[in-house]
């Protein structure tokens, strides 16, 4: 007897594979990107089925939402590319590629089947030492405390991406026009209503990440989304990184994390939190990271969609 959950999972997996196929091979790139966003949303459902609500939150906001926005922004900037007919390798090599990739796929499926029967992992280790971490959500504990190094470098990578995207934009100089957006009053009203709500939601996510799904990255993603709709509404905001206050926001997360980790070396090792103060230390680091992540994501979108104003500063911060 096939159980209902398995039928749902089977249909979900089938939809995912079909969406992937159609998104990758559609003639119209715009349709491909839209299908990619739909794919991302269904992948978030798959994460829920795999008991990972934290990942589902992040996937919807970043994987589906922001990545889709980045693609659409770049597509708008390179408009002539949209109608490409998907030219690729000459015919014979299509077949060779398909054969080789299928071979790889079969090997990987066999490996999957053999690994699926395994056990172990570090779940028990984490659960045993959860109270020392200062938070009750095991995923947040791993991200911020037990594997803090990874997160520190991840924020560093975000910052590097910001520098890279802006350096490219400045290299392009005056030859890149910024996109002129029609002033849509509905969108402007929507932005005025939604921005405070989104900021509140982000603050809530940082706070609640301690004991429920949530945390700094989800909050940062929400703030990034707020930044994107502010930009799309044509609100005159300058996101050039040489504006000092914005530079400060961009580097804030990485700096706070690094400084905290280094100061902790007074009593222990780098990033080794003392159990007595860990809760509020983590909160400070999380808030700084969420702000930074939000700014960096909006700024990346601005760089990809050519929405940075190349001349003159309009002043004003993002929020």
């Amino acid at each position: 007897m096939i159980e209902l959950p398995s039928v749902f999972d089977g249909l979900l997996s089938l939809s995912l594979v079909l969406l992937a196929w159609f998104a990758l091979h559609s003639k119209d790139l715009f349709l491909g990107i839209v299908l990619f966003v739909m794919f991302g949303i269904l992948v978030a459902v798959a994460w829920l089925r795999l008991h990972a609500p934290d990942i589902a939150l992040t996937e919807v906001a970043l994987g589906a939402g922001l990545t889709g926005a980045l693609f659409l922004g770049t597509l708008g900037r390179t408009e002539v590319v949209r109608r490409d007919r998907g030219q690729g390798l000459p015919g014979g090599r299509h077949l060779l590629t398909t054969v080789l990739v299928s071979g790889l796929g079969i090997v990987l499926c066999v490996i999957t089947a053999r690994l699926a029967a395994g056990g172990g992992g570090m779940g028990d280790l984490v659960r045993v030492r959860l109270e020392e971490s200062g938070v009750e959500n095991p995923v947040t504990a791993v991200i911020l405390n037990f594997r803090g190094y990874d997160t520190l470098f991840e924020i560093g990578v975000l910052f590097l991406a910001l520098l890279g995207a802006h350096a490219l934009h400045q290299a392009a100089g005056a030859s890149t026009e910024s996109l002129r957006l029609p002033r849509d009053s509905m969108l402007v009203i929507f932005v005025h209503i939604m921005t405070p709500v989104l900021i509140l939601t982000a603050a809530y996510l940082v706070w609640v990440g301690d004991h429920r799904p949530g945390g700094a990255f989800q909050a940062g993603a929400i703030l990034g989304g707020a930044g994107v709709i502010i930009l799309l509404a044509g609100v005159p905001v300058s996101l050039r990184v040489d504006h000092f206050r914005l530079r400060l926001v961009g580097v804030l997360g990485f700096a706070v994390f690094l400084v905290t980790g280094t100061c902790l070396m007074v009593n222990g090792r780098f990033l080794e939190y003392p159990v007595a103060h860990v809760k509020w230390l983590l909160l400070v680091v999380e808030l700084a990271c969420a702000l930074s992540i939000g700014f960096i994501l909006s700024s990346l979108f601005a760089a990809c969609a050519s929405l940075l104003h190349p001349s003159g500063e309009r002043g004003g911060r993002r929020d």
Binding site: A46, A52, D84, T97, G119, A172, T176, F217
Partner: protein, 107 residues
């Protein structure tokens, strides 16, 4: 266990579809899209393995790794797209093939 195999194999399939598309298409935006699918396929495989012990909650360490990975993938995509846009602004084409490019527009 069959659920784990189902999600794992789905991940593998999506990875392979992305890999093939990465080779086949010349357009840089399509290649970046393919890379994103490959990344999601790998993450799905990891998450399936994180949940493979039946009856107990999933392993939070792969969850943390996947979360980091999603963020890093967004950064990589953003940089790739910025580069592709820059290439298009300089040469008028969105592929790396020289014979497809429009006559070079020197800034």
């Amino acid at each position: 266990m069959t659920d784990v195999i189902l999600h794992g194999v789905t991940g593998v399939l999506i990875f392979c579809l992305g890999l093939r598309a990465l080779f086949v298409y010349e357009n840089l935006l399509r290649k970046t899209l393919a890379l994103n699918f490959m990344g999601t396929g790998v993450l799905m495989f990891i998450m399936a393995m994180a949940d493979r012990v039946p009856g107990s909650p999933p392993d939070p360490v792969p969850h943390a790794i996947v979360l980091t990975s999603i963020v890093v993938a967004v950064c990589a995509t953003a940089l790739l797209l910025a580069l592709a846009g820059h290439l298009h602004a300089l040469t008028g084409s969105a592929t790396l093939e020289a014979d497809d490019a429009a006559p070079e527009a020197n800034p």
